[in-house]
Subunit: 126 residues, 4 copies
Amino acid sequence: MSEKEFSLTKLNKPQQWTNLADMAKKHVPIIEAPEKVKAKEHFTVKIKVGGIDGVEHPNTLGHWINWVQLFAGDRLISKVDFAPEMCNGYLVTLNVTLNETATLKAREFCNLHGVWEGKERKIIVE
Amino acid sequence: MSEKEFSLTKLNKPQQWTNLADMAKKHVPIIEAPEKVKAKEHFTVKIKVGGIDGVEHPNTLGHWINWVQLFAGDRLISKVDFAPEMCNGYLVTLNVTLNETATLKAREFCNLHGVWEGKERKIIVE
Amino acid sequence: MSEKEFSLTKLNKPQQWTNLADMAKKHVPIIEAPEKVKAKEHFTVKIKVGGIDGVEHPNTLGHWINWVQLFAGDRLISKVDFAPEMCNGYLVTLNVTLNETATLKAREFCNLHGVWEGKERKIIVE
Amino acid sequence: MSEKEFSLTKLNKPQQWTNLADMAKKHVPIIEAPEKVKAKEHFTVKIKVGGIDGVEHPNTLGHWINWVQLFAGDRLISKVDFAPEMCNGYLVTLNVTLNETATLKAREFCNLHGVWEGKERKIIVE
């Protein structure tokens, strides 16, 4: 995948996770969460956009990560909007509550390079 | 301030911080941030909605904290949308970057009790 | 499909369009747009949520249409947030611009009954 | 007011409405609404961003109107997000419902030139 390989009209999602292109390293959101949680007790989810192998996404008035979304299955848990220039590092931590086992996924939107999705994370609710 | 004292059409903001009514304890967003930071280096801001003296806000399909906004002066830094039932505890942590000394403020919207603002926090940029 | 038939965790989308249940009539967004447009010239898209056969969705502080999204293929064109009680009828008109033939779809979120999608509309760009 | 006169950290609002600079003509949102309405019956509000004297705002991936907000007094009625390149002309029409006489105001955010507010419009509810 070269620097040019992105789509403004389709979801961008790496097919393999070895040898990621810089374009992907900058854009893909990474979810950090526990593997097992208790039903209806909140736990911490961290979402970091880009920064894989230290390749951070720019943050200027004309080119930035506009928002991040976190889903449990198809259900939107949260959307976080960023103003340009104000949120370097693009790291968000949220409280999340689940009733049953679900798969978390995160998406982000870059105004120049479209919507990106990273690896899903299954959370087992005990 | 009694339980009834809130407005759907005006900003709700406690005038004094001793003897807060439960209505305020549930709704007011509290900002946690360092007093001094370095220009253009990101730092961590924590926003907790409600929970003052342990009085937490409900989180049901018909009554929840819909969103939180963080401002530096008049500039919106971030808006975080919550889906009902999914984010108990309403705690958000964000990376923030400032170029110059600014005053942070946070607002939240509860669908039944309107928009609430808490204490401002001045951040000195060195 | 009975009144109970909806999901909070999956996309709700009618499988057939005759004999819609009231639940669907209230929630499904309907797109009105021209069949053919010119590239890069804006045209009008109307999105009406619910109201099919006159079955309108409620609009109270605890139960309302929270937002509508309009997509061209997978690309989000616009998201419109509604405050509770303020937007009876849930009708939005937008300018849209396309570069190439695309399929419009609309989704809405009701805080009690989840995300609903209606009929897609193909727009031919000449 | 010259092309340079805008702020990213303060609200931009013209002080006088004769001899508007192009910067203002491009950014200021204009509200179109009836002067008198009936309580709890919805009416149509049109919001046009820019285009005063034909001076339209650009709409490119790196420079566009990111969103428009409509308020009744301090209460947010609706926020409309635009994706870059998709909504030339920036015209939105909404249904609005009021219980009592209120003053409408509209704000928009341009990623390069900040938040702009236009003329308020008083709506008398009979």
